[in-house]
């Protein structure tokens, strides 16, 4: 498991029904591409987060398949509709099998 993996999410706490909100997510992760070499010339093995999903009350907002060309500390910004009060659930899937989760609740304004 990669060390010090910390997800951060910026989503509104209140929204009116049907409102379109902007969500920003960032997760600290080295995203080792598998292309780099260490000081001895050995290839450093690939270790990345290969999938990110955002759901609201179980309905998909966005599902991203990621390749090694995504930068260190993967950042995503996108827009979602809030039809009712509920929870955004963010999930990151690591190459090593770890799953990082974060939730953010939205109340109706």
């Amino acid at each position: 498991m990669a060390e010090n993996v910390r997800p951060r999410v910026k989503a509104p706490r209140k929204a009116s029904a049907g409102e379109e909100v902007t969500i920003k997510t960032l997760i600290s992760h080295p995203m080792e591409s598998g292309q780099r070499k260490d000081a001895d010339g050995n290839t450093i093995p690939r270790s990345i987060i290969h999938r990110f999903t955002c759901e609201f009350n179980g309905e998909m907002v966005v599902d991203v398949a990621m390749e090694p060309a995504i930068s260190t500390n993967p950042y995503f910004e996108f827009e979602a509709v809030v039809p009712e009060a509920g929870d955004f659930k963010f999930t990151w899937y690591d190459d090593d099998g770890s799953v990082y989760e974060e939730t953010s609740s939205v109340a109706l304004a």
């Binding site: 070499k37 759901e55 599902d63 060309a69 995504i70 910004e77 996108f78 979602a80």
Partner: protein, 138 residues
């Protein structure tokens, strides 16, 4: 080294290998596009790719896609060792089919976005990015 017939043949073969590698990388990109579209024709309208003209650091290049009415968007970096970058699938609760992220680019190259629309058609947008320092740690 004297310029014998044998040496010329060896140099010729070496040159072929050196120039053949970048060709195979872009061929991989073409294959990835063909797999995504199933060989269908791509229009040029309907998808926008926003990328900087010049990126000083290839390790973090901010890009933005916007494809109203798309259900999936694939992003490719044509000059990277592996051309795939990401594939966005937009669900029923996506307010707009747009997203932004940060990507790695190995050098100056074209970045391509291919969108699959809900009606099954495809659209393609491409943007050239000049990279001062490549992002492959080589």
């Amino acid at each position: 080294m004297t310029l014998t017939r044998r040496n010329v043949m060896v140099m010729g073969a070496g040159a072929f290998v050196a120039f053949g590698l970048p060709m195979s990388a872009s061929a991989a990109a073409e294959d990835a596009i063909a797999e995504f579209t199933g060989g269908a024709d791509m229009g040029s309208e309907g998808v926008t790719l926003t990328a900087p003209e010049i990126a000083e650091n290839g390790n973090t290049v901010p890009i933005e896609i916007d494809a109203p009415g798309a259900e999936a968007v694939m992003i490719l970096a044509m000059g990277n060792p592996t051309p795939g970058v990401a594939e966005f699938k937009f669900g029923p609760l996506a307010a707009s089919q747009s997203a932004s992220t940060r990507i790695r680019l190995a050098g100056t190259q074209d970045v391509v976005a291919v969108a699959r629309m809900k009606d099954g058609s495809f659209a393609k947008a491409s943007s050239n990015v000049k990279v001062t320092i490549g992002g492959c740690g080589g």
